[in-house]
């Protein structure tokens, strides 16, 4: 077993995992979006403590699933969406996945890779592909798919993932 930092430290959090799926915690979400706007500790590629920073930023509730080589932190957002962060046993966050009615704050979750993604996917010449965003580098892979109101995506650092990790786990 590994770290467990699965509950937020803020006072107004919901106390159970299964309730309050969509409509509550809105005020908390606003607070997080607007007040905690300094993503200096981005998770992807960051250290374990960044996960709690992300969770607070997203006003999410969190639980963990521990596998042999890594831990998955599952965050449930106020709007019902989920964000998963994949943490190596030594604390390095090597992957992120999301699903829900909106895209999460990728500037926060991707940190320095957000600019990498933007530079790679924002294209204005040639035929426009109205399709998922794909960024595939040796050290950074991102997919952002779905459609308005039903988004899904993931990003990970291939060179930092545990050997036993499969990208099909990034869901």
């Amino acid at each position: 077993m590994k770290y467990k930092r699965n509950q937020p430290t803020t006072a107004r959090r919901p106390q159970t995992f299964s309730t309050c799926a969509r409509l509550c915690s809105g005020g908390l979400a606003a607070l997080a979006w607007l007040g905690v706007a300094s993503p200096s500790f981005a998770s992807l590629g960051g250290v374990a403590s960044s996960i709690e920073v992300d969770r607070a930023h997203l006003a999410a509730r969190s639980s963990t699933v521990v596998n042999a080589a890594y831990t998955v932190h599952i965050m449930t957002l106020p709007n019902g969406g989920t964000v998963k962060e994949f943490e190596r046993s030594d604390g390095v966050v090597f992957g992120i996945a999301w699903r829900g009615p909106s895209r999460p704050d990728l500037r926060q979750l991707l940190g320095s890779r957000f600019a990498v993604m933007q530079a790679d996917v924002v294209v204005h010449s040639g035929r426009r592909l109205r399709a998922p965003l794909i960024d595939e580098r040796a050290d950074f892979v991102l997919h952002s798919a779905g459609h308005s109101g039903a988004f899904v995506g993931s990003a990970y650092l291939p060179q930092m993932a545990p050997a036993s990790f499969s990208v099909s786990d990034l869901q």
Partner: protein, 452 residues
């Protein structure tokens, strides 16, 4: 206002059934089992002895290269597989301060009308009031698409499409100026392109006619809440605070409604009716979009198979169905006229290797896929889908390009999104695709559903 008889011809058989539905099935009765065998007249004018007013619940769909400002721009491009309508907006209460906006993309994958502020004449734009919030400040909106986002003011206009109209319809004036000229970081943080120009949007506007009745539903009615849409308080210092907006499809509006849901009649959904594409594609195509399902003699549900979708209460979002494909159950699939290709994973189909084409599939010869579409109601229908070589098919001036597909990833060993099959506009060719709005009775079924 565009009124063509073309559409009546395309849906002739259904039109005959539609008449039966109007007469017998207003309560949501038996639907498509009535005899549709008669080949309805394709006479283009109903000028005989009928006193019935001519139907106006439709308008023409055009697939072409896109707005002139796009195709003639040195940095521009040609749209492919994008269906456009023209809409007319007027200053509220005016019949003269109006403008018809061409090349508005029809999108069953989103909800709400969005028009580039830059294509609206200044004299009209200045006459379109901006919604205000509880602080009496202007309201701004961010809206997320798969490849980016739009941001702008929420203004109101008298709206017409075909013979349908909505007074004071809220729409997003994308890329509006003044306090809206700075995109909030909470809007751009989802990533992708800021689609604030004709080049960025590939259109003059986009009309979201998906299954949702408003663009954020209950998610934006709680403090700080957001979905694909985020609403902002926009004082003179700029847009920053997220605000709540009510989900109403009648005046007084707050959120952007589905423009069809806001219509006085024919407000339960749409039918996108496009002819089949020639095998090799073609330069342009015209079809018809009908407003309403089972509300007139030309928009009956007929024998179409109804596939209900996830609702706005789904944590994964509204409008999803299941596609069974390659022994996988892809339960985050959807029909999306706003996607200009099929997006699905099949590692047996080679991807293109040519520069700028690697996001597409390039089978050496056309590949026929067997899929089964399954609704939340358990109803299923088989669909055969042909995937062509994108590099070869794009190598001409066609804007109707059938059978174009691409993987959700170009990472050859992965299958990152096994749950999704995006049935984009090529799926609509040769079909009448129904999109019914959430909680609306539409023919013999209740939305949200897709049917064809």
């Amino acid at each position: 206002m565009i009124k063509r008889s073309l559409g009546i011809k395309r849906l002739g058989a259904i039109g005959a059934m539609g008449l039966a539905l109007v007469l017998t099935a207003c309560g949501g009765g038996g639907g498509g089992s009535s005899n549709g065998g008669s080949t309805a007249s394709t006479a283009s004018t109903g000028s005989t002895t009928s006193t019935t007013p001519a139907l106006t619940n439709f308008t023409t769909l055009t697939i072409d290269g896109g707005p002139t400002a796009l195709t003639t721009n040195p940095n521009g491009y040609i749209d492919d597989n994008v269906a456009f309508v023209s809409v007319t907006i007027c200053a509220p209460g005016s019949t003269t301060n109006c403008q018809t906006i061409d090349h508005v993309q029809v999108d069953t994958g989103s909800t709400g009308l969005r028009i580039l502020a830059s294509v609206i004449t200044p004299s009209l734009l200045s006459a379109l009031p901006t919604e205000t919030d509880a602080s009496s400040n202007p309201v701004g909106e961010c809206f997320g698409y798969v490849d980016g986002y739009t941001f702008g003011s929420v203004r109101q206009a008298d709206f017409q499409v075909g013979g349908e109209s909505v007074a004071n319809l809220p729409f997003q004036a994308i890329g509006d100026t003044g306090v809206f000229s700075t995109v909030p970081s909470t809007c751009s943080s989802g990533g992708g392109t800021n689609e604030s120009t004709v080049l960025g949007l590939g259109a003059n506007g986009i009309i979201g006619l998906g299954v949702m009745a408003t663009d954020c539903d209950s998610l934006c009615t709680v403090a700080g809440g957001y979905g694909a849409a985020i609403y902002y308080d926009c004082p003179s210092t700029g847009c920053a605070s997220i605000i709540t907006r009510a989900a109403s499809t009648t005046a007084p509006f707050q959120q952007l409604p589905n423009p069809v849901a806001a219509m006085a009649v024919d407000n339960n959904g749409t039918i996108i009716s496009l002819p089949a594409s020639p095998t090799a594609g073609e330069a342009t195509m015209t079809g018809t979009i009908y407003f309403g399902i089972g509300t007139q003699t030309n928009n009956g549900l007929g024998s179409a198979t109804v596939l209900t979708t996830t609702t706005s209460a789904s944590p994964n979002g509204a409008g999803l169905i299941t596609v069974d494909f390659n022994n996988a159950v892809l339960n985050e699939s959807f029909l999306d006229s706003g996607s200009n290709l099929y997006v699905f994973a099949d590692s047996s189909i080679p991807q293109c290797t040519q520069t700028n084409y690697t996001a597409y599939y390039c089978p050496t010869s056309p590949v026929t896929l067997s899929t089964t579409l399954v609704g939340a109601n358990g109803t299923s229908v088989a669909a055969s889908i042909v995937i062509n070589n994108a590099y070869n098919f794009f190598d001409n001036n066609n804007t109707v390009v059938p059978g174009i597909g691409g993987p959700p990833t170009t990472f050859p060993s992965s299958n990152v999104y096994p749950q999704s099959f995006d049935l984009g506009l090529p799926f609509f060719y040769g079909r009448n695709v129904y999109t019914a709005i959430e909680n609306k009775t539409a023919g013999s079924a209740t939305g949200p559903y897709f049917a064809y």
